[in-house]
Point group: none
Chain length 205, copies 4
DNA sequence: AAGTAACCGAGACGGTACGTCGAGTCTTCGC
DNA sequence: GCGAAGACTCGACGTACCGTCTCGGTTACTT
C-alpha cells in the first residue's frame, strides 16, 4: 500500500503545447483499438505531433494514459444529494452504469483495469487510485444518511459500495450481459436491507 | 452475443505432442509476467518448441491462453452443498476469494479480463464464457434452496451472484484492498436479506 | 597489431538469401551518398529486404560494408607480369590509379578509409587488411624482379609500394587534383632509380 | 576545382564570445571520439554553450570543424631552411610524420579526410585547401634548391611532395604500420635520385 | 548615462535514423 | 508427407542527434 489517495487532479503547468491534442488522440485511439492496440506512433500521428514530443513528457504508454485520464473530464462525476440514502445510492449506481456502458468510457475503463504488468503496474495503480478517489468523494452520501439516521449502526459503507459497483462491473464488463433498465434500483434494493435502518416508506416496487 | 455457452472442456485429440509443456509454459509465464509481458517467443523457448509449432495449433496468443485455461484444471471448482442456502453462498463466495487472491490464479484471472477493449476479443469471450459456465454450474445451489423454500419467490439468482462475485472482484482486483477474514460471510449476509425467505440465524450482528 | 593478414575472402555459407541484393545496395548507396549518408534503412529498402534481416547477419554498418567489399569483386585486381620490374610497377600503379579514380570504386575506397571511430574501427581495420592483402599479392612482382636481378640488394619493396601508392593517393584522394595521363609512369620513374639495379634499356621516355 | 587556394587564416572579428571554448571542445571531442562520434550537442554541452549559439555561427558540423582547424594552430608548420635540398626535404617529411602520428593531430587529420564521398563535401574541401596551402608554403624550399642548382631541370616539385607525403600517409594512416626512426630520411633518399642533380652524399647505403 | 541593437540561454519542436523486440508467415528440410 | 526448424516481413518500440524556432534576458556599443 502506498500513499492513501493521490489527488487525481491535473498539474496545470506540465505538458507540451499540444498536450490536449495528444491526450485526446490517446483516449480516442484507446476507445477505438483497445489498450494493446494503442500505439504511441498512432497517437503521435493522430495528434499531429512527433513521437519524440510525447516521450519528452510521458515516459510510457500507461503514464500518458494516466495523465490523459487524470487531466480529462472523462471520469468526473457529480455526487448526488437526493435527500434519501436510497435515492443517493440509486444515483451513484446509475453513474457506475453509465460509466461502464457509455460509448466513450467503457473501453477506457476496461483498459484502465487491464493491469498489464505483474502487479505494480502504473495503470493498475491508476485504477486503485481512481476507486479510492471515487470512494472518498462519495463519503458525504453516507455522512448525510447517518445524520438522517438512515444508516444502520456499524454498517460498512465501503462494503456497500463494493457490492453495488461490483454487481454492475461483473454484469457489464465481465459477463457482458445486458443491463436491464432499472438495474441500478434492483441492485440497491438488494443490498439496502442489510445496511439501512428502516425500509424507507414506499420502497418495494 | 455469440453461442450461449461453449463447452469450456478440452478437445482431447487436438494439439501437438508438446501441448502440455506449451500450455504449462504459457500459464507459468502469464503468472510471472502478466498478459502483455507474455510472449509467444518466450513460451516457445520455455517449452523447448519452435514458435511455428505453437502457431500451427493456436492462431494467436489469446487462443493459446484460452486453450491453456480451458484444458487446465486451474479454473475448476466444486459446487458446494452444505444443506443451507447461506452455507452454500458463503462457500461459493469463498471460492471466488480463493480464485482472485490465490498466487497462481490471480494474475491468470486478471489477464483473462484484460480484454483489449474492442468487443470481439477472444480473451473477453473467454471471460464471458467462463462466467456463464460457472453460473450454470452453480444453478443447483439455487434449485436446492428453492426446494428447501429458502429462496424468496421472484428472487433473481443471477443478481445475487453478481453482487457477491462483484464485491470480491472490486475489492481484490480493482481496489487491491486486503480481504479480511470472513469477508465472504460479510458479503453473503449483506445480500441475503433481500433474497432469502427467512433471515438466517445470527445475521444481524 | 593483430593478425598479420586476414584472408579477405568470402565465407560462402554465411548470409541471408538476399545477401547479394543487400550488399549491392550498400555499395551503390555508398557510392551515391558517401559513408555517413549511407543508412541501413535505405539499404534495406533498396534491397527489398527488412531492416531486421540485415541486422540479423551484420551487426553494424561497417560490418556490412566490410562484408560487401570482401565478398564483392570490386577490390579484386590482377597481379601483372610484364617481364620487367618497371613494366610491372607501372601496371601496379596504373591499377591504383584506376581504383582511386574509377566511378564505382573511388567513393568506396574513400569511405573505407574514413576511419570513423576512435582508432580501432572496423572499417579502418578493413583498410589495413586490404592493404596488407594487396601487398602480399604483389610480392611475386618483386620475387621475379629479384630473380631477374633487377632489384637492388637491400631494397625495400614495401617502401617502394608505399611511395607509389601514396603519390597516387595524395594526388587523387587528398588533393583531388587531376591525374595526368602517364602519371603512373612518372611515379615509377621517380622511385625506380633508388630501387633498381640498372635503368632498364630505353627507359627514359 | 574551385578557388585556387583559400587563405586558411582566421577572420578575427567573427564568432561568438565563447568561440574559443567551442572550438576547443570540438577539437577535443574530435580527438576523443572521431568524426562521426563528434556531436554538436556534446560540443555545446562541453563548451557550456547552447546549441543554438553554435548554429548561429556555423551552419554545420564540418563548417565548425573547418573553422576550428583553421583558427587553431594545430596544423601550422614551419618551412625548413637547412641549406640543402635533402635536408629541407627530410625536415618536411619529418613534419608530415609528426602531423600524422602526433597524439593530438592524428585523429584530426584522419577526420579531416573523412570526406563523405560525394565530391562537394566541406571537409573534403578543407583537406584540399589544406594541402594546397601547405604546398604553396613549401615552394621556397624548391626555389632555393633551384637557385643552388640542386634541382634537376624539369623536375616536378609537386610530384616530389606527393611521393614523400604519400609514403608517410599510406604507412601511418592507411596501413597503420609503425614508422621506423629515420623513415623520413629513407623516403627522401628513395625519391631524391630522380629529382636532384647530384646524388646527395651518403645516399647509396 | 541611457538607449538600442546584437547576442545569448533555455528549451521545445519536427524530423530521420538508430538498433531491438515480438508477432505472425513462408520456405525448407528431415524423419 | 507431416511436422519441426529457421529465416523472413512487418510494425512498433524507445533513443539519439539533427537543425530550427521562439522567447525573454543580457551584453556592450553608441550617442
Amino acid at each position: 500500500m502506498s500513499d492513501p489517495a493521490p489527488p487525481l487532479s491535473r498539474r496545470p503547468g506540465a505538458g507540451p503545447r499540444a498536450a490536449a491534442a495528444i491526450q485526446d488522440a490517446a483516449l480516442r485511439l484507446l476507445a477505438e483499438r483497445g489498450y494493446t492496440g494503442l500505439t504511441m506512433e498512432a497517437v503521435a500521428q493522430e495528434a499531429g505531433v512527433n513521437k519524440t514530443t510525447i516521450y519528452r513528457w510521458w515516459p510510457s504508454k500507461p503514464a500518458l494514459l494516466r495523465a490523459a485520464l487524470t487531466d480529462g473530464a472523462l471520469l468526473d462525476f457529480e455526487v448526488p444529494d437526493t435527500g434519501s440514502l436510497r435515492g443517493d445510492l440509486v444515483a451513484l449506481t446509475e453513474r457506475v452504469v453509465v460509466l461502464l456502458t457509455g460509448a466513450r468510457t467503457e473501453s477506457v475503463v476496461r483498459a484502465m483495469t487491464s493491469g498489464s504488468g505483474t502487479s505494480d503496474d502504473e495503470l493498475a495503480m491508476l485504477a486503485r487510485d481512481f476507486f479510492a478517489d471515487r470512494f472518498s468523494r462519495e463519503q458525504p452520501v453516507f455522512r448525510r444518511a447517518a445524520e438522517r439516521g438512515e444508516l444502520r449502526p456499524g454498517a460498512d459503507p465501503m462494503l456497500l459500495l463494493d457490492l453495488m459497483a461490483g454487481a454492475v462491473w461483473v454484469r457489464a464488463v465481465l459477463r457482458r450481459a445486458p443491463l436491464p433498465a432499472g438495474f441500478a434500483r434492483e441492485v440497491v434494493d438488494a443490498v439496502l436491507p442489510a445496511f439501512a435502518t428502516v425500509p424507507p416508506p414506499g420502497v418495494n416496487t
